[in-house]
């Protein structure tokens, strides 16, 4: 498993639209991607669970990538966070 920490820069946090983008992106990979904040976590393919975490701008989340093509998925999902969230 590979993971990275990320500070949310999007001013609205992980709201419906950014969460939707993330779900779309996450569905492209075989690896299981999990987003964690504090003691809450959600699979990146699950919209409502992501939204229910209530991640706001400035929050730090940990993103775990597990299984499948970990290396490649890790790099592109990190890119995705930096460009979209």
């Amino acid at each position: 498993m590979k993971s990275f920490d990320y500070v949310i820069k999007d001013e609205v946090g992980i709201h419906a639209r950014p969460a939707g983008l993330l779900v779309k992106e996450a569905k492209n990979y075989d690896s299981k991607i999990t987003v964690c904040k504090g003691d809450k976590s959600a699979e990146a393919t699950k919209l409502m669970a992501l939204m229910a975490m209530g991640v706001k701008c400035g929050d730090t989340v940990t993103v775990n990538v597990e299984g499948g093509d970990e290396e490649a998925t890790f790099a592109s999902i990190k890119d995705f966070f930096e460009n979209n969230l």
Binding site: A16, R17, G20, L47, M48, A52, K56
Partner: protein, 539 residues
């Protein structure tokens, strides 16, 4: 050809296909199911259909309103196919042996409640999205026809009755006319129809179940008639009428940019009444020189919790900025009476029009009031905002308001937040405020006469009661004398006085109002140029 008559709220003619809004949805009942597998399969089929419907909506919205507004359908699509949501529905079917409709309703409520409990206004509002998505699924499962305004062709809306929040949510471009079985000519829905400049009939005695979606209908707001399946002859006649209407609108367009001044040089401000931030477009399109009434309660309607200070601040700031340095008079919340909002927990009243509403709520629950005032004072930095307080009956109320405004200002100062205390005025809409207008005028910066309530309270006539329309004389001399009295007392104290009620748009009275010396008339945006024409033709 089937013809029905009703009371007209806007004198225009429209023709188009009918969309029947039948709110009598089939109730969701709990049924015992033995074959849970086939029930689960029904869910999958319904979800697939939902995704298809939402995809079609997305495509259409993308073309018509752009990506930002279309994104909501994409989000709904993801919600409807969300794994947790689907698992939860199927789990309920399997463990409780219930039908798919019931399981969707329960799962939808659970998820909506989860969002409603979050500590973030935006997320709380998403509860409505989940309910929307669940309703879509239930409608598909029940085989109901879904009325979707976003994908609707411009149509004639037929309904039992419409609440103000339902009316507001409709896309104004898609509505050719309204026809309702209930409602009176002075209800808020009627006022909205007038504002949107579309023909509307209320109190039409027709059987909704006999009217099919897609039937061609002619709504004649001049005769007060709606005709289903009009003859070819009638259709061509109506087309001519509509063309004339459009020519008239074009003529009025030519008055844009001209001053509101009589031949002898008497000037009057003609402002517009609005109820939503998006209405600013209509204000500018119709060349109003300001906003004389921004009904802030639309920020409070159609939602489940109070709008936050930030949300209000953004709305007020946006309107102020969009209007550049033109005047924007924002009325503090006027909830109560016929505008009910669940989360205010107002309770039942025997006599809501004479009850706990508007400024009375604000003075008894100052927290709600202060949130709005903070937002207004902060937004005032960004434009020419004025604040207007509704339902005033005494000088003591105005002094109390001023104290609260001062408290809010002091709080903002101590927090180092930028603000400005703008011009403040009151609505003159109770007989008490007219009679006390000499004293009140010394306390405030302006008066704006709310003729709808003033007429209702002066004549003791309930404006929601269709039975009383025959007694409701909007030109009653008692009301006109009250207007004169308030205007004279305003001028004596050196402040200005306007009208923001329906009477301000009454073209039969424009000349009289100018002669009375009123300084401002605030009317629905579509009436601004019509009044300008009358004023410019006056001696």
């Amino acid at each position: 050809m089937d013809k029905f008559t009703g009371k007209s709220v806007f004198k225009g003619v429209a023709m188009g296909n009918v969309v029947v809004l039948d709110k009598k949805d089939k109730p969701v009942v709990r049924e015992k199911i033995t074959d849970t597998d086939s029930e689960v399969a029904r869910v999958d089929v319904a979800v697939a259909e939902g995704i298809k419907q939402l995809g079609a909506l997305y495509d259409k919205a993308l073309k018509e309103v752009g990506e930002a507004s279309a994104a909501i359908f994409e989000a709904h699509q993801m919600m409807i196919e969300d794994m947790d949501y689907n698992d939860s529905i199927k789990n309920i079917i399997r463990t409780e042996n219930v039908n798919a409709e019931f399981a969707v309703a329960v799962a939808g409520d659970n998820f909506a409640e989860m969002f409603a409990a979050m500590d973030d206004d935006y997320m709380r509002a998403r509860a409505a999205d989940i309910r929307d998505v669940s309703n879509r699924l239930i409608n598909i499962l029940q085989g109901n026809e879904v009325v979707d305004f976003s994908s609707m062709e411009p149509s004639v809306i037929i309904a039992d009755d419409l609440t103000p929040s339902e009316t507001v949510q409709m896309d104004k471009e898609k509505i050719l006319a309204f026809v309702t079985v209930h409602g009176s000519t002075n209800s808020h829905t009627a006022i909205l129809a007038r504002m949107m400049n579309i023909p509307a009939l209320v109190s039409v005695d027709m059987d909704l179940s006999k009217i099919k979606n897609g039937t061609l209908a002619v709504v004649d707001g001049i005769k007060g008639e709606v005709t289903f399946d009009p003859s070819a002859e009638m259709q061509s006649e109506v087309k001519k009428q509509i063309k004339k209407q459009e020519e008239q609108a074009e003529l009025l367009n030519q008055l844009k940019g001209k001053e509101n001044v009589t031949k002898s040089g008497k000037k009057i401000n003609i402002y517009a009444n609005i109820g939503a931030v998006s209405d600013v477009a209509l204000v500018l399109e119709n060349d109003a020189s300001g906003i004389g009434l921004f009904r802030s309660e639309f920020l409070y309607l159609g939602r489940e919790d109070y709008p936050s200070e930030e949300e209000q601040f953004r709305a007020y700031k946006q309107v102020a900025q969009n209007m550049a340095d033109k005047k924007v008079i924002i009325r503090t919340l006027d909830i109560g009476a016929d505008k009910k909002v669940d989360y205010f927990n107002l309770g039942e009243e025997d006599n809501p029009a004479l009850g706990y509403r508007a400024i009375r709520i604000c003075l008894k629950q100052p927290d709600i009031f202060k949130t709005q005032l903070r937002a207004l004072l902060r937004a005032a930095v960004y434009g020419n905002i004025s604040i207007m307080y509704p339902m005033i009956i005494s000088v003591a109320e105005v002094r109390k308001i001023k104290e609260i405004v001062k408290e809010v200002a002091d709080e903002l100062t101590s927090l180092g937040i930028e603000y400005r205390i703008p011009e403040q005025g009151i609505m003159i809409e109770t007989p008490a405020s007219v009679i006390m207008s000499e004293e009140l005028a010394k306390e405030v910066d302006f008066f704006s006469i709310g003729t709808n309530d003033l007429t209702q309270y002066t004549l003791a006539i309930d404006r929601q009661n269709a039975n009383l329309d025959d007694f409701y004389d909007s030109h009653h001399p008692a009301v006109l004398r009250m207007i004169k009295m308030a205007t004279d007392n305003a001028h004596k104290a050196g402040i200005w006085c306007g009208i923001c009620g329906e009477l301000g748009a009454d073209t039969e009275l424009t000349e009289e109002f100018v002669k009375m010396g009123l300084d401002e008339l605030s009317v629905s945006p579509s009436m601004v140029l019509k009044l300008r024409k009358i004023v410019r033709e006056m001696d």
